[in-house]
């Protein structure tokens, strides 16, 4: 029902198995970070991989989602599910406004416009009182899910994060393989032809952008809940660069690439964290290597080797 091919179904169940087993061997908080970033990267991949538009401003949606979830949890004491939904809606609403502006241009202009608009959101967050500026919104309670499940325990929170990730992952897959998704791919391959067939290509691009931003907002909201904090880091442009890198490293336009990219990059950052700016240098080097020699990404290369679409 989700349009998986046979090989993708196998890969999907392997991924689910890993998600279920890994918290018993690895630190759950680290894994939750990976899952949040993986969902963020999958959402980003929806735009670059299937519509062919590179957004360099996805941090705006991720960060604003994170702020809204954190704020509603802390000051309105909402149910966790509601706060995350609000984070997603914030991403979607913001995506509607910024997307409406940005889809007027394509290619590198689209990238520059999204970057600039996201920078505007960053400056807004820097000035606006509700974000608490440099301090961010701290000590956000994880609260209670559906009024009964207490999320303070790391393992409980992990299962929620895993469920959100898998839900988002399947949703994206469903979108790509729906008739709507086929039109998106048609637009990516040949926009004038899609127009001549009677599709309002701008509407399709905008809807895809809003969906992508919504999931980015959900990812940001979940991250805020996991770490109990929402800061300017989430909304600033290095975050946009990071999500581009994760997707590029895993494989642009592959189903499992963004997930793989997020695992590798988060693990790397975890080990390099004490070396300060070397993280940035390593990220830059990975960018350069990926573009020069490794454009299919990890999953793309594996798929090419096994002659499978992953």
């Amino acid at each position: 029902m989700f349009g998986f091919s046979r090989s993708q179904t196998i890969a999907f169940w392997i991924m689910v198995a890993i998600i279920v087993i890994s918290p018993f061997f690895l630190y759950p908080v680290f894994l939750m970070r990976v899952l949040c970033m993986a969902l963020f990267a999958c959402a980003f991949n929806l735009m670059i991989g299937y519509v062919g538009l590179l957004s360099f401003g996805h941090a705006a949606f991720f960060g604003m989602g994170s702020y809204i979830t954190a704020w509603t949890m802390k000051f309105w004491h909402l149910d966790a599910s509601l706060a995350i939904v609000l984070g997603g809606l914030t991403g979607a609403g913001l995506g509607l406004v910024l997307g409406y502006l940005a889809i007027r241009r394509s290619g590198i202009y689209f990238a520059m416009i999204t970057l600039a608009l996201a920078q505007m959101i960053y400056f807004f967050c820097l000035e606006a009182p509700f974000t608490h500026g440099e301090d961010g919104i701290q000590q956000v309670p994880r609260g209670v899910l559906f009024g009964v499940i207490d999320l303070a325990n790391d393992m409980t929170m992990y299962w929620l994060t895993a469920a959100i990730f898998i839900g988002g992952f399947l949703l994206i897959h469903r979108i790509i393989h729906s008739p709507f998704g086929q039109v998106l791919k048609g637009i990516r391959e040949n926009e004038p032809r899609a127009t001549s067939l009677g599709y309002r290509t701008d509407d399709y691009k905008l809807i895809a952008f809003v969906l992508s931003c919504m999931l980015a907002g959900v990812a940001g909201g979940t991250k805020a809940l996991v770490f109990g904090i929402a800061t300017l880091t989430d909304v600033n442009y290095p975050m946009s660069g990071e999500v581009v890198l994760m997707t590029l490293l895993g494989g642009l336009g592959t189903v499992f690439g963004p997930v793989m990219g997020s695992v590798v990059l988060m693990a790397m950052e975890n080990y390099l964290a004490e070396f300060g700016a070397w993280v940035t240098v390593t990220q830059g080097v990975i960018f350069i290597i990926c573009v020069l020699a490794f454009r299919r990404g990890i999953v793309g290369e594996i798929g090419n080797l096994l002659k499978l679409r992953l």
């Binding site: 007027r104 241009r105 520059m112 600039a116 442009y237 070397w278 830059g284 573009v291 020069l292």
Partner: protein, 295 residues
């Protein structure tokens, strides 16, 4: 003290001058981006990092070799321009047959590497660079006091922008360059070494960024993030101006600097976002940019 729109005159003119200075940097940087984009079809995300390298280069020349500001103004662009040529020859030239987006991703990676390395070596707190003796002090213009160095920056920036425009629009070299931008294979058929022209264009654009960096060194402290702070705004400037015209990007750069300065007087909170707001308005009314030729 006289007042304009309820604001003291000197304050207003002071902010306009600060705006002109920012505008001078926007103009020089977006000019370099436009020239590089014209020839290479690449948006040079590393432009900010190379601007920062220009500032650092002049700082190093002063502190390690003892070479002062004015020689640096020539030497630093040459050194960084040569570095740019090496980058183009070894890395960037491999991308010309690929989608433009790969150029953007690659230069973004280059920027991360360069900035990361400088942050490791010099920290991110910033190093001071003194204004050269002859340009210290201020001049009384009658309606305000103008710090001499700031006047110098605006003057030099205008001269450099105008010279770049003249080289591209009025010389044979510029004509070849413009022809190659339009149709590279045809120009190559006339016996022009187009790959070398591309390399030199990149070197030239980078040298321009480095020159701006040297000018910026005494105004802003020399630090690894100085380029990034500028370049995000410069991208908005490029979108507003459109990359079709050299003079267009210069005018847009200066104009937006002044608008930013004026906003600082009348509505300080919005001064960081006003350039982006202008971009939104331009996108709504004229998506291809004020001076852009094609959509």
């Amino acid at each position: 003290m006289f007042m304009i729109f309820g604001v003291p005159g000197p304050l207003l003119f002071g902010q306009v001058l600060l705006g002109l200075i920012n505008g001078a940097f926007y103009a020089m940087l977006s000019l370099g981006l436009a020239v590089i984009f014209g020839m290479l079809n690449i948006i040079n995300f590393a432009h900010g990092a190379l601007f920062m390298m220009g500032a650092f280069c002049s700082w190093m020349l002063l502190n390690y070799v003892g070479i002062g500001y004015f020689p640096s103004l020539i030497l630093a662009p040459l050194i960084i321009g040569a570095f740019g040529i090496v980058l183009e020859k070894t890395i960037i030239s491999r991308l010309y047959k690929l989608d433009h987006l790969y150029g953007l991703l690659l230069t973004f990676g280059l920027a991360l590497v360069i900035e990361g390395l400088f942050r490791n070596a010099y920290g991110s707190s910033g190093l001071p660079y003194r204004i050269p003796e002859i340009l210290t002090g201020a001049t009384n213009l009658g309606f305000m006091y103008m710090p001499n160095y700031r006047g110098w920056v605006v003057l030099v920036a205008v001269v450099v922008c105008f010279s770049t425009w003249a080289i591209i629009e009025k010389t044979t070299l510029g004509a070849t360059l413009r022809a190659a931008t339009e149709n590279a294979p045809l120009v190559q058929a006339f016996g022009v070494n187009v790959p070398r022209l591309i390399t030199l264009t990149y070197g030239g654009g980078v040298a321009l960024a480095a020159f701006a960096g040297v000018l910026a060194a005494p105004i802003y402290s020399v630090n690894p993030n100085m380029g990034t702070n500028f370049i995000n705004t410069v991208f908005a400037v490029v979108v507003i101006g459109g990359m079709g015209s050299i003079l267009g990007s210069v005018i847009t750069g200066f104009a937006l600097g002044v608008i930013e300065g004026l906003t600082k007087v009348f509505w300080p909170q919005a001064s960081a976002t006003v350039v982006f707001l202008v971009m939104v308005i331009v996108l709504l009314t004229r998506p291809r940019g004020l001076f852009g030729k094609t959509a």
